[in-house]
């Protein structure tokens, strides 16, 4: 399963990709716009090849895309999997609101 597959990324891929703080930092950097590998690697106390590997994990999870431009590779943020994460989160937000409502009701009953 490499980044060149057209198959959609699984939730597993996305959650696993987000588990690394390095990869979350990479996503945050890409919020500022497209970046080359060297530009990204400059932010880390880590070898460039290791950053390349993290980028591959992010690519496999469809969280970033790459565009070849001469000898550079321009990486861009692809927010769609994060929107699916928001959908995953939705039932838990509902749960949260129910709990808040119950707490408020209990407080109103005994003032």
């Amino acid at each position: 399963m490499s980044a060149s597959d057209q198959a959609p990324a699984t939730a597993d891929d996305v959650f696993a990709a987000l588990a690394s703080p390095v990869r979350r930092d990479l996503l945050r950097l890409l919020l500022g716009g497209t970046r080359t590998v060297n530009e990204l690697a400059a932010h880390f106390d880590m070898s460039r090849p290791s950053v390349s590997e993290h980028l591959r994990v992010l690519r496999d999870a469809r969280l970033v895309s790459e565009r070849k431009a001469g000898r550079e590779r321009h990486y861009s943020l692809e927010p769609r999997p994060l929107l699916e994460l928001r959908d995953w989160l939705n039932p838990y937000e509902k749960f949260w609101r129910q709990r808040m409502r119950a707490l408020r009701d209990a407080l109103e009953e005994e003032p």
Copy 2:
């Protein structure tokens, strides 16, 4: 760093906890309400002690809480870290809306 600490869970703990599909299934089961360890373990093709370890990871991330009741332990969902995850997601949703807006504007320009 055990679950008995009062220190708040880090984003790292939360993302790492969510990286396992078993632990995400545990959270989903707890959406239905409080469950004992045995009730939870019954849903998995895995030994009960292994489920216990997954529960510890979720506890350390403050994603679940436990309440002792006789010889049972009742586990409950604690949605607060997931709400922080939603906050983490926020800038990416803004990014997404910007991108959608740009696409829409481009389409209007060239109909």
